[in-house]
Amino acid sequence: MKKDKTYKPTIGIEVHVELKTKSKMFCGCPADHFGASANTNTCPVCLGLPGALPVPNVKAIRWTQLIGLALHCKAERESKFDRKHYFYPDLPKGYQISQYDEPLCTDGYLETTEGKVRITRVHLEEDTGKLLHTTLEGEDVTLVDFNRSGVPLVEIVTESDVKTGTQAKEFCERLQRIVRYLAVSDCDMEKGSMRLEANISLGLDLGYKVEVKNLNSFNFVGRAIDYELQRQEKLLAAGKLPRQETRGWSEKQQKTETQRYKETAADYRYFPEPDIPPMRFTSEELAGRRAELPELPDMLESRFLKDFKVEPKYAQVLVSDSRLAEVAEAVFMEGKKHGFAPNALAIIIVNKKINLKNRTPKSLIEILKKQKSEKVQDKAMLNRWITEAISSLPQAVVDYQKGKTQAIEVLIGKVMQLSSGRADAILLKAILHKRLGGKRA
């Protein structure tokens, strides 16, 4: 292999998102498994008992379509569930109900500052139980908790369009923001409701790819990819082909480590889930789903910039959370009626100068109006503003002292701006005259 060859980083991302539906994917058990005592949210279906049958959660199907549509995917007219077989103690049926060749959504994309990342598919499946390796009465044991078994899990798979660690990180952050906007998942990395994996190689033509797991934060994604690209490049430069394998990111050692080799592809023996009829959606249903899509963060952000003239740094903070953005917009609209500039309101909201909880936009603006109408008569405060005004407008002082008495208006205007119009005008004028040592007009 030539040493001077330039390699093309080729990275695909797989994201799993747990939906926050009330019940699980195929039974009526609560889907919220975080913090529940082991095996309390279970039933014959999610324990894989004999005779139990899955009945799909319609809300989870709709939410998956929403995620797909938000990622510019095509929501398919026909879709189905399939069984994916493998034995593992946390998989009670010996197969996972997933989607194989007819996912709910296909062929979308997500823009990043480093370019478009194409989305191959968005599909729905069930989560597995959890294994707990522990010691019980002096014996090493593995316990299984099935509370998570059957929780709806959406898998989002990208094409190998990602080129850098930073792009991967941005992709994941943007994806998280979109899914949170749809209010269908918490996307909490710590709680595992959002899980990331990356497939990394330096060119598909090289015939290998390395799967990296354990990416428990967005920063890990960036670092693991950067590390892996360097590792692979070194190997290739030395004339060696990186091994096709699964590696895990070790935060302690700041590197990826081998988890297992994949010499042949696992045979999951996929076949259509015979307990669930295939799904068919009418164009009316899909149009309805599209109509349910809320305004997404990118669109909202550009509207905040254009229509409300909010500074970009504040707009970005406001759209990071759909609830906050919604409140902000309502406050802007209400504020406009009373002469408040949206950007000034944005600053107040972002800096948490006022408690937004339990307040309607109307009551919020009322409070601001009241604050505005309460004139500041505190001399110390007025003096501080005057000092600032004088130092920022020395020419006005010179003009005044030369006899151009109107110049005082410039300084008054500045103080009013500094005080958001709250300075007591009469008192201000008196103090200003005194400080400038001039005669009364």
Partner: protein
């Protein structure tokens, strides 16, 4: 007539007219079970006698107060792949030897809600895998008409229990003929309803796309009455139909003549005596004014191959949950027949082979469904034999699994197409019973029952009882 010989319809009449009590009925059957089951091996589990009598007492009291639920106080038995809360359910496999279910199958709770009293759980070919009743780990069931011979399977214990008058009726599952076959070999009425007509929830799954939940009874009316109870949509089974349920037993009155299609492929290579018997039964229907029309279903010759691949594929998947981790015993306890089907199914679904096997079978199945649908454009029913040969001796076909599988050639088509089918007694060949199979369009169970009832009324085979041994 002796009390134990009553049909469901007769039992209901006796109970309603207070000429017999539920306590009397259960006592008669409990006595007979004690007496005859040790040789017959019809049961895997018989419930506690005191519990049964207590339930019967309660049923009698309820009736005295005016309750008239259809099956109130009627003693029935359940194939041991119907889950019963608190009552051991084994599927006749040692893998589940100690398995006590946490819930009742939907069909079981519907029967209980209608007032039925469960006497026990009946033997079967383990997991439903078999046509003879020989693949059980709880003693091979004997045919009450000839103890040396098989009952047919897999609902073998249900067939033997009803034929021997150890109960009024029995449930069964039919994945490839498992209700119709023991009905045919035990001189009973065996129903395979339309796929999706009766909920599969709580039935230990054999093959999800062909499992049909039915029953074996002494008479046609009985079969119709039980379906009126078990049928209907179940929110716990996504494949159960929302098609409205009829009171089938109230719609048996003659409603005119039908066109009956006789597929010539159903008679190829059959024993002459058996063919004669079936033709005689068809002549009876002709004499009653029905039209017999010869038809051809050329793809039926592929039905068994299609069945073998699709069903084994589903079996391999459905048995994956029995890993011995949460309940039951390790997979080593699976016997040869289950292992054979798991291996065939696993192979059929494997990468590189699925195109050749699973996917081809699915394509073939679609053709078969189309062929039946086309036939039902021309005829109202399709008729033929159930088994290609009369009841065989224990062990006779055991050495050659393929020969055993071919027992199913005439019954599997209806499972693959989802159509309802029934086996109704038509007579004895060399003193061994045989049935006529009728297949109807989807959800036309009423038509099946009406025509079967005519066969029953003409031939009255239910009068011929087996001579039991102790």
């Amino acid at each position: 007539m002796k009390l134990h010989e009553v049909s469901l319809q007769e039992a209901i009449t006796l109970l309603r007219s207070k000429r017999a009590s539920s306590v009397e009925l259960v006592n008669v059957f409990l006595e007979r079970i004690k007496k005859y089951n040790p040789k017959l091996h019809a049961f895997i589990t018989v419930r506690d006698e005191q519990e049964i009598i207590a339930e019967a007492t309660k049923a009698d009291q309820e009736r005295a107060k005016g309750s008239d639920r259809l099956l109130l106080g009627i003693p029935i038995v359940l194939k041991d792949n119907f889950l019963t809360q608190g009552l051991r359910t084994t599927a006749a496999s040692k893998v589940l030897d100690d398995y006590i279910p946490q819930y009742d199958a939907t069909a079981v709770s519907r029967l209980k809600n209608a007032g039925a009293i469960i006497l026990g759980k009946t033997n079967l070919d383990a997991w439903g895998h078999g046509s003879s009743g020989e693949h059980t780990e709880y003693g091979i069931t004997r045919n009450p008409y000839d103890y040396e011979r098989v009952t047919g399977g897999s609902s073998s214990g249900s067939g033997a229990a009803v034929a021997s008058d150890l109960c009024i009726a029995a449930t069964g599952t039919d994945t490839g003929g498992s209700n119709r076959q023991p009905a045919s070999y035990c001189n009973l009425v065996g129903l395979k309803p339309t796929y999706g007509r009766v909920s599969r929830y709580g039935i230990i799954a054999m093959a999800s796309t062909t499992d049909s939940i039915g029953h074996l009874t002494k008479r046609v009316w009985d079969s119709a009455a039980i379906l009126s109870v078990t049928a209907g949509n179940d929110p716990l089974d996504a494949t159960s139909s929302t098609e409205p349920v009829q009171q089938y037993h109230e719609r048996l009155a003659d409603k005119g003549r039908v066109k009956i299609g006789i597929p010539k492929e159903f008679f190829e290579g059959l024993e002459t005596k058996l063919v004669t018997k079936v033709l005689q039964a068809l002549d009876v229907l002709k004499a009653r004014g029905h039209r017999l029309i010869e038809i051809s279903l050329p793809n039926v010759k592929y039905a068994y191959a299609i069945y073998c691949v699709t069903v084994s594929s589903e079996v391999s998947s459905n048995l994956a949950r029995f890993d011995g981790i949460r309940y039951g015993f390790p997979r080593q306890r699976f016997q040869d027949e289950a292992k054979r089907r798991i291996m065939i199914g696993t192979h059929s679904l494997s990468a590189g082979y699925a195109d050749q096997y699973y996917k081809r079978a699915i394509a073939g199945r679609t053709l078969l469904i189309r062929e039946f649908e086309e036939a039902f454009q021309k005829v109202d029913l399709i008729a033929g034999p159930v088994f290609p040969f009369p009841p065989f001796k224990h062990g006779e076909r055991e050495k050659d699994p393929l020969k055993m599988y071919l027992s199913d050639v005439l019954t599997v088509p209806a499972n693959l197409t989802g159509h309802p089918a029934i086996s109704v007694p038509i007579g004895f060949v060399d003193n061994l019973p045989n049935g006529l199979q009728l297949i109807a369009p989807h959800f036309s169970e009423t038509r099946l029952f009406r025509v079967s009832l005519e066969v029953e009324q003409e031939l009255r085979m239910y009068e011929r009882k087996p001579r039991l041994k102790q």
